[in-house]
């Protein structure tokens, strides 16, 4: 591995200023993916060889969480996932989130991997991760998945680039309508997570709205509501330590056995976490049963445009949507 400069940020302002000053600086959180990225020397016309790592873990208060009944949950972006998956307040008030926080990788990686890192990690596409492929994401002019092996690529919303969003935690947070706090040279702002991710058509070289000198500092999850049922499923080829073929997070508000409101998100299927709006519309005001769950899942997946090798994802997505709806029943 080539050597890089290391800078321990002392505050969010310091980190932002350092990033703004050095175009070849990159924020470092757990590093469980970034260091491998640098080691594999993944570069291209629009993916520079990073020269400075700005460590965010040294920022006071960047890690940790607090919960209150009124305000809900606030999680520092640098909090390790292993802290969150076992946190009493999260397990008791947001069991589905606890499940999602325990879903990525392995316990040792979750000890270093942070929530912010999980949400902001780069996709797993093997062409993106292959040093010899100059794909759109690295500034090239081709998506090798279109003609190559694409069993793990997008079935929904793919255009130009067919990556899938790799985060296990993002769909769960989105189902809870979480917000992200962002800091940049012009100060702080808070945006709904539903506006945080961007697809390849907006900018193929990145996956979020963050500019080079902006950082996610905190995730805010609204207080739990009564009458809400949630579910979370992740399908993988390997039991642990694997990225999802598909995962589904559902949040359903049920009143008198009827669905009053819902948010259902998938990841592993599209370049951004994917909201299953057709499912939500189909079940609204209805009582969920086997037939309705099947109908909703099938109708949602009519939208799917599988490639040569990934039609299986369509079937898995349907199966997991059905399961999520029936579990909430």
């Amino acid at each position: 591995m080539r050597s890089v400069k290391y800078y321990a940020a002392t505050s969010w302002g310091d980190a932002v200023a350092t990033l703004a000053k050095y175009p070849l600086a990159k924020p470092l959180a757990g590093g469980s993916d970034l260091l491998g990225w640098i080691k594999d020397d993944l570069v291209g016309p629009k993916e520079p060889r990073w020269e400075i790592l700005v460590d965010l873990r040294t920022i006071e208060g960047a890690s940790g969480y607090r919960y209150s009944q009124g305000d809900g949950l606030r999680i520092g972006a640098l909090t390790p996932l292993s802290t969150l998956e076992t946190a009493k307040e999260i397990v008791e008030n947001y069991p589905m989130l606890a499940k999602a926080f325990a879903a990525p990788a392995s316990p040792n990686i979750r000890n270093v991997g942070t929530l912010g890192g999980n949400i902001n990690q780069r996709p797993r596409c093997w062409y993106l991760r292959g040093p010899e492929f100059s794909c759109y994401k690295k500034g090239g002019d081709f998506c090798f998945a279109v003609t190559g092996m694409n069993q793990y690529h997008a079935i929904l919303d793919g255009e130009l680039c067919y990556i899938v969003h790799p985060s296990d935690t993002a769909p769960a947070l989105l189902a809870f309508d979480a917000k992200a706090k962002i800091v940049g040279p012009r100060g702080e702002k808070t945006v709904p997570l539903s506006e945080y991710f961007i697809g390849p058509r907006v900018d193929v070289t990145r996956e979020t709205i963050l500019a080079h000198d902006e950082l996610m500092t905190e995730i805010q999850v609204p207080a739990p509501q009564p009458g809400v049922k949630t579910a979370y499923f992740k399908a993988t080829n390997r039991e642990t330590y694997d990225f999802a073929i598909v995962n589904v997070a559902s949040w359903l508000k049920i009143k008198d056995n009827l669905v009053e409101d819902s948010r259902i998100y998938l990841s592993g299927v599209a370049p951004t976490p994917y909201r299953a709006t057709i499912v939500e519309q189909t079940i609204k005001g209805k009582r969920i049963d086997e037939a309705l769950a099947r109908q909703a899942a099938d109708q949602q997946m009519v939208r799917a445009r599988p490639m040569s090798d990934n039609a299986y994802k369509v079937d898995i997505a349907k199966a997991l949507i059905r399961r999520a709806l029936l579990e909430a029943n």
Binding site: S106, N237, R238, E239
Partner: protein
């Protein structure tokens, strides 16, 4: 016989060093003034090299030298056939082939300089699959094959076939006419990487006269010395090759990899050169298990008699055969395409085929997991078709004492049926299972490896010792040698220290491989220990001026006639003996393994969950229960990975899975309950009637799981790995098929 040390669960000799990080692996060695090498690799599967521009790399600060194939004497590498150029000259034949090499003051500079070497190629038509390679008019990878050193027999006609073997007897066409049921299927299995923790590494320090000292990750250091010397065109005595600790082998550490390049880099810069392969290089350019396509056509009668078995097996060699150690360039699994079953008519054809992909090599039981997956799947399908219980079908057809296998192997003390029955019993074969849960069985066997090896035993001021030319690849082989010698000398195992030697100080040693260690080194250690004891007794008797039978031997000490115990070193000083064991003449026995897998299939997703595996072994005397169980557990896990998730897919010549994130091996959550059953009354050619274990437990697992999947949900998967997707699709087809009939 009651043993004191043999059969005891003692820890490994090097265990404390390894777990505390103090074991010195090749990559840990630092020599004064050491420089660092890196390789420039081909980016095309088949191309002519038009030009190589090294000027930019050479101009970088810290770069000491850059070499290409044209800068060094021509030389080709190989364990048997020498077909792999040290650095490509004129042509590259796979993505990842060595094209040039750089040496620099540090690793980062070497890697950066390797990226700065500019190679211009003219792309040639490539044969990326075996189908392409065997098609009429296919590009021929090695037009000069007949001129290569190490090619066995007459050169084949101009084709991409590296080796072909046929065997059989009777008349399969007549057999098929007699059959009540015939099944023909094509099984495909992917490349599998050994997945060891330690990647290939070497350190080469040349002297101005061309001699060199070499450290490398290799299970056969003496053969590595010969391989490297032949490739470099120097006498082998010029190379002092050290025996190093090995961080996992699984059959993959038999080639010299970067050693010839490091030698030339060291000559070019006049400094020791260290080269460590990255795991990307491991996945794309090391020596993984051969992918194969095996077509089987088998006919049976209603009573289960196998009347005809016809096989065509294609093994994908990749672009070179250099990593295959068999003199015939075959894989041992070739001879197991009919297993150990009674078959009336047999015709087997097996080909090793060159393709423009990275070279395949050896991995734990070479060729066997491929052959046994196909065969045991095929037999299971036949049993189900004639509605015979799969265990009963095998019981009727497994060979018995006095019978030969379809490949003509004949063993004594054949315990195939006992092993099968032990597994079935432990698995509760025949007891009812819940919906979507199934059981599958598969049988395999592996003999105890053969050959000759030498072990030295001695006594010096520090006590007893054994010296060997074989590394411990992590299997515990040194501990086995320690235990059998300790048993003979009547001392605790830790009272014997293990020393390794190097290629200039020790007789030629064949090294580790083919499940030979416990048998051959164990017997050599046993003989050396006995010889040491006898020599000490004779010399001490002479020193005391007593008849030899007046001296006793107790706990490694001499018992004098007056009852006093004496330390032999104080009487006769240092002593060393050397014994060679040669397995020629040892009884030809094999060790059977039968496994039963129990799986649950999720019909909505196709996901296979392995609930339990029973592994029964006719294993002989267990020398070290910890090591033995470790071999079985590790083998089953490796077999499970092969069954369910491991593959190195090659797309347009590029390996798609270049890290352990993409190349999936089982993690803890995938590993089921394992029950091990050992047959009593050991028979084996090894010390204390030991057999082998290393290459058995990983072999039948994939077929047992495939058979269990069919038992659970009625679909047969013939292409490994058995992913959820394949099962789901098969269930869908089954459902549609059933629908049409109604």
């Amino acid at each position: 016989m009651v043993h004191t040390t043999v059969g005891q669960p003692v820890g490994q000799v090097a265990g404390p060093l390894k777990v505390t990080g103090r074991a010195t692996y090749t990559a840990d060695i630092r020599l004064p003034n050491m420089a660092y090498g890196a390789v420039v690799r081909s980016t095309l599967p088949h191309a002519r090299i038009v030009s190589i521009d090294t000027s930019r790399a050479l101009a970088m600060p810290g770069v000491l030298a850059v070499i290409t194939g044209k800068d060094i004497p021509p030389g080709r590498v190989g364990r048997r056939i020498r077909d792999l150029p040290i650095l490509a000259v004129d042509v590259v034949r796979f993505v990842g082939e060595r094209v040039a090499a750089v040496v620099a003051e540090d690793q980062a500079t070497a890697e950066a300089a390797a990226l700065a070497v500019e190679v211009e190629y003219e792309e040639l038509p490539a044969a990326l699959t075996m189908r392409d390679a065997l098609a009429p008019g296919a590009p021929i990878l090695h037009p000069d094959l007949a001129s290569y050193d190490g090619l066995p027999g007459a050169p084949p006609q101009q084709s991409n076939v590296l080796s072909r073997r046929t065997y059989g007897y009777g008349d399969v066409d007549e057999g098929f006419r007699q059959a009540d049921v015939i099944i023909q299927r094509r099984y495909t299995v992917p490349r599998q990487h050994q997945g060891y923790l330690e990647p290939h590494a070497c350190l080469v320090s040349t002297a101005p006269d061309g001699t060199a000292e070499v450290w490398l990750t290799n299970k056969t250091p003496f053969q590595a010395q010969e391989q490297a010397a032949k490739a470099l065109g120097i006498p082998k005595e010029w190379l002092k090759v050290h025996v190093t600790p090995i961080g996992g082998d699984f059959g993959g550490k038999g080639s010299v990899m970067d050693v010839p390049v490091a030698y030339h880099l060291s000559k070019a810069c006049g400094r020791p050169v260290r080269m460590v392969m990255s795991y990307v290089e491991e996945f794309t350019a090391a020596a993984s298990r051969h992918a194969a396509q095996i077509t089987m056509k088998t006919g049976v009668k209603r009573d289960g008699t196998i009347v005809a078995h016809q096989v065509r097996a294609l093994f994908d060699s990749g672009a070179y055969g250099a990593f295959k150690p068999s003199p015939t360039l075959e894989l041992m699994g070739n001879t197991r395409l009919g297993g150990a079953y009674r078959m009336e008519n047999v015709a087997v054809e097996s080909l090793i085929v060159y393709t423009n992909t990275f070279p395949a090599g050896h991995m734990r039981a070479p060729g066997l997991p491929q052959a046994i997956f196909a065969l045991e799947s095929q037999l299971d399908a036949l049993a189900r078709t004639i509605e015979m219980d799969p265990v009963e079908f095998r019981r009727r057809n497994l060979i018995r004492e006095g019978e030969a296998t379809p490949a003509g192997e004949q063993w004594v003390q054949v315990r195939a049926i006992e092993t099968l029955e032990a597994a079935a019993r432990a698995a509760g074969w025949g007891t009812p299972l819940p919906e979507n849960v199934g059981r599958g069985v598969a049988v395999s066997e592996h003999g105890a490896g053969a050959g000759a090896s030498t072990v030295q035993a001695g006594l010096d001021e520090r006590g007893f010792y054994l010296r060997t030319g074989a590394p411990d690849t992590g299997t515990g082989s040194h501990t086995i040698m320690q235990q059998v010698a300790a048993e003979t000398l009547g001392v605790p195992h830790h009272a014997i220290r293990i020393e390794t030697s190097h290629t200039l100080a020790f007789p030629f040693d064949f090294g580790v491989g083919g499940s030979r260690v416990t048998h051959v080194y164990g017997r050599a250690a046993l003989a050396a220990a006995a010889s040491l004891r006898d020599t000490i007794l004779q010399r001490a008797a002479a020193a005391f001026d007593l008849p030899t039978d007046q001296l006793g031997w107790e706990g490694g000490q001499l018992r004098r006639p007056d009852g006093r115990l004496v330390d032999p070193f104080t009487v006769i000083g240092p002593v060393e003996v050397e014994e060679t064991y040669d397995s020629a003449g040892a009884p030809n026995v094999t060790g059977f393994c039968a496994q039963v897998a129990e799986v649950r299939v999720d019909p909505e997703t196709g996901k296979v969950e392995v609930l339990r595996i029973v592994s029964a072994h006719d294993t002989g005397q267990v020398i070290n229960p910890i090591g033995h169980e470790g071999q079985i557990a590790g083998g089953v896990i490796q077999g499970l990975g092969y069954a369910l998730m491991e593959e190195l897919p090659v797309v347009d010549g590029y390996v798609a899975t270049q890290s352990f994130a993409e190349y999936k091996i089982p993690a803890m959550g995938d590993i089921p309950e394992l029950e091990i059953v050992l047959l009593p009354e050991p028979t084996g050619p090894g010390p204390f009637a030991a057999k082998s274990i290393g290459e058995t437990p990983n072999v039948p697992t994939a077929a047992a799981i495939a058979n269990a999947v069919e038992d659970a949900v009625g679909v047969r998967i013939v292409d490994l790995p058995i992913t959820a997707e394949k099962v789901f699709r098969a269930l869908q087809r089954k459902h549609e098929h059933g629908h049409h009939h109604h």
